[in-house]
């Protein structure tokens, strides 16, 4: 569900990951997501939000590099990965990997650290 809270959660985690990734290893989002989930008690049902947050930070950085480059590198990499030079597919693949890993991490983390999923509010 798109709520202001969810949007803020995504933006917050995304910004944090962006900042940390500049100076640390690519997998830094894994401990970040674990901490984020534990700290804010994010339930399993919202694991995908963490994935979206990490994917967003990667996508932002990719576009920051790719657009001024006029897709030269992404097209070559798409060829390298057997994507027939389709740079959009390569970017999609490139964003899907952290999305998947972050969602997976959030889900596992929530399973361990969050007591239970919230009950949906009745209308």
């Amino acid at each position: 569900m798109i709520t202001m809270k969810n949007v803020l959660m995504i933006l917050g985690l995304s910004a944090l990951n962006f900042l940390f990734s500049l100076y640390t290893q690519w997998w830094i989002f894994v401990p970040l997501v674990i901490l984020w989930v534990a700290l804010f008690q994010i339930p399993r049902s919202r694991s995908v939000l963490s994935g979206m947050a990490i994917a967003l930070s990667w996508l932002t950085m990719i576009l920051f590099r790719d657009i001024p480059n006029q897709h030269i590198l992404s097209t070559r990499m798409a060829n390298l990965f057997g994507l027939k030079g389709n740079y959009i597919l390569f970017i999609g693949f490139n964003v899907f990997i952290p999305f998947l890993l972050a969602t997976w991490t959030a889900y596992l983390s929530a399973t361990i650290t969050v007591t239970k999923d919230p009950v949906p509010k009745k209308r």
């Binding site: 990734s21 500049l22 290893q25 690519w26 997998w27 894994v30 990667w58 950085m61 990719i62 920051f64 590099r65 790719d66 001024p68 480059n69 006029q70 030269i72 590198l73 992404s74 070559r76 990499m77 060829n79 390298l80 693949f93 490139n94 990997i97 890993l101 997976w104 991490t105 596992l108 399973t111 361990i112």
Partner: protein, 781 residues
Amino acid sequence: MMIRIFSGILLFSTLVFLHFSWGDIPALGKLISPFQGCWQSADSPSLQDETYDFPALKQAVRVKYDEQFTPHIYAQNLQDAIFIQAYLHAKNRLWQMDMTTRLASGRLSEVAGMKTLETDRNMRRKGMVFAAENSTRAMLQNEKSAPIIRSYTQGVNQFIQELDDHHLPLEYLLMSFKPEPWTPLKTGLMLKFMADKLSGHTQDFELSLARQCFPDYFDNLYPLHLQEEFPVISSSSEKTNVQQVSNADTRPFSLPKPIHHHQAAHQPAIGSNNWALSGSRTQSGFPILCNDPHLPLNLPAIWYENQIICPEMNVYGVSLPGAPAVVIGFNDSIAWGFTNGYRDVKDFYEVQLNASKSTCRFDQTDIPLRAQVDTIFIKGRKPFLDTVYYAADGILIYDAAFPKEGYEGRSFLMKWMAHRGSNELLALLGLNQAKNYHQYVEAIQSFECPHQNIVFAAASGDIAMWSQGQFIHRQPPQGRFVQERGNLHWNLWPMADNPHERNPERGFVMSANQVNTHRSDPTYYSGIFTEERAKRITNLLSANQKFSVQDMMRFQTDLYHQNAADILPFMLQQVKFYKWSPQQEIYLRQLKQWDYITHPDSVAPIYFSLWFGYLEAFIYDDDFGKYKSQLVYPNERATIELMKRDTLYPLFDLKHTPEREDIRALCMKAFREMCHTADTLQDKKWYQFKNTSVKHLSRIPAFGETGIRIGGGHGIVNAASHQDGPSWRMVVHFSQPIEAYSMYHSGQSGNPGSPFYLNKLSDWAQGNYFKIRFMQPQDFK
């Protein structure tokens, strides 16, 4: 619970898999991360001027870029200029420099694994490091070259120090290794790598075998001189200080074991063109110099275009990433260029090793050997130890531990001019700074190996050509075959006697890998020479007219197939009386109507190429028999002369048929074969058939291009063949101011993610040129 644990382990394993490289699979997590991976190589097109003020520099150095991303380096002294040249080489071509020196030193396996072990062993057996060490010592002992090579080393290392893990060039990420510090030895290795490319190929084994197999035909198939020649030095008949030669050493060569891998090879396709016109032959009255060296069309390009402006010189041209100075180019006063001379400066001797391998015996003489154990580190494997034996005069290239295929159990010592401690860098520095003919001659005296035809033109009006290198006084047939007797000593030829000419009467000098001197020259030498481009260029330049710069560009991109022009009418004559099928008649008609221009969209060059190829196979393959894989086809011009000279030459008879074939019968058979193949080509054009390709050094297809739409080909002035071709085209016109044009097949950046990686390719293929911006110091004020 178990599912959670399993899921956790799986997640952790995935992360580990993505974080590390596994064999040839790179560390994918790091590779695709936009914060540190491949995306760091997504350069944006920026041509901002730069000012460098590193602590190692005496004064700040400014760099201006033109629209082709060519740097114009402006420094207050030569050492600072070279420092920044090195820095820019590393910034744009570090991986290329790293891999080339690894290849040259036999260290590829450290980063590429087992698959390159044989290549590494071969390079070490050639003595590449030994050669580079000798030359590096010479460079460091010379007061002019020593500070230059030190500045260059510092400049490369400056860039390497600035590199962190987040900004490694893409190829390092894909191969999962990091650059190591640059050393003067690596520059020595770069120069020896070029020496190997240009003078490392000989046919001693092939010709020894051919002489043994066809004693009656050998001189016709592999003549020292062809009937029709266009020597580099057109006025070369009045040689002095040369010895008359005598026949010697016709001792039988022991035949090898036959191997059956492939067809007989052709001679190497790479070659180059250069020429200079005196003012009397140009429309402007000023000299023009042209050069287009043909080399493998690799990516990144072998050359890096740059200008160096400092008080000592103002020079523009191409440099070799990994070595200082400009290799081919021009300055305010002179221009120069290179073609490969192809004179044989590498000898093989069959020796008998004693049991302890402390000596080997050659023609009754025991030669002491020094053993050196080479440790070859291999990625993911235990190191491989190889013992290499050195003599005072050579290196044991093949022995029981590293046999030449077909020659198992036999040992061969190799002696190569490149092993000498020569200082070619000094020659380049001299050329960069030369102001006139005398300084050009003085500069090239230290150019020993590889043998090069060095063309020259000066603003003062002089033109010249020196066939330059350190040559050897030989007795026939020394050097041409594997030697089994004689001695290992070389009598060196005084360089002042090297073939040369200055301001010849015909108004031009020209070389295109052809024979150096006239057949009337009594000096014996051998090599792998080709005449077809020399003939074409001579014909073009001999036209009774005055030429412009545009004519020069037209000549450099000339598509005329000289060999076809010389033999196709004869071949067509042989088949004209037969009744061919309608489709075969179409092929014949296209060949008859062909103007010998190898336009990219034409088809006649395909038919000729196939036809002549089948003809060569019919002529030679049955006679080569079981040694087909170990012999080399004669020069195409030799075959052409043979066909025209004697249509009943005994080799034309096919052994497996009862009839007695002549050249007419073979032309008919070859034509039928050509038609069968042509029927399967599905409307392929010439450019699709020859498939000119530019390939990345890593051989990653995604980083290269294939099927480039360009005409020309092997043996044509515009020599764009499958993987070789004009690696740099340059035209310099000494008008006031100097007018110069250039082009090469890729771009300045070695980064596949850069807009300047392949930006020149289509212009190169279309024969376009960029006008060079030859800056002056005042442009930086």
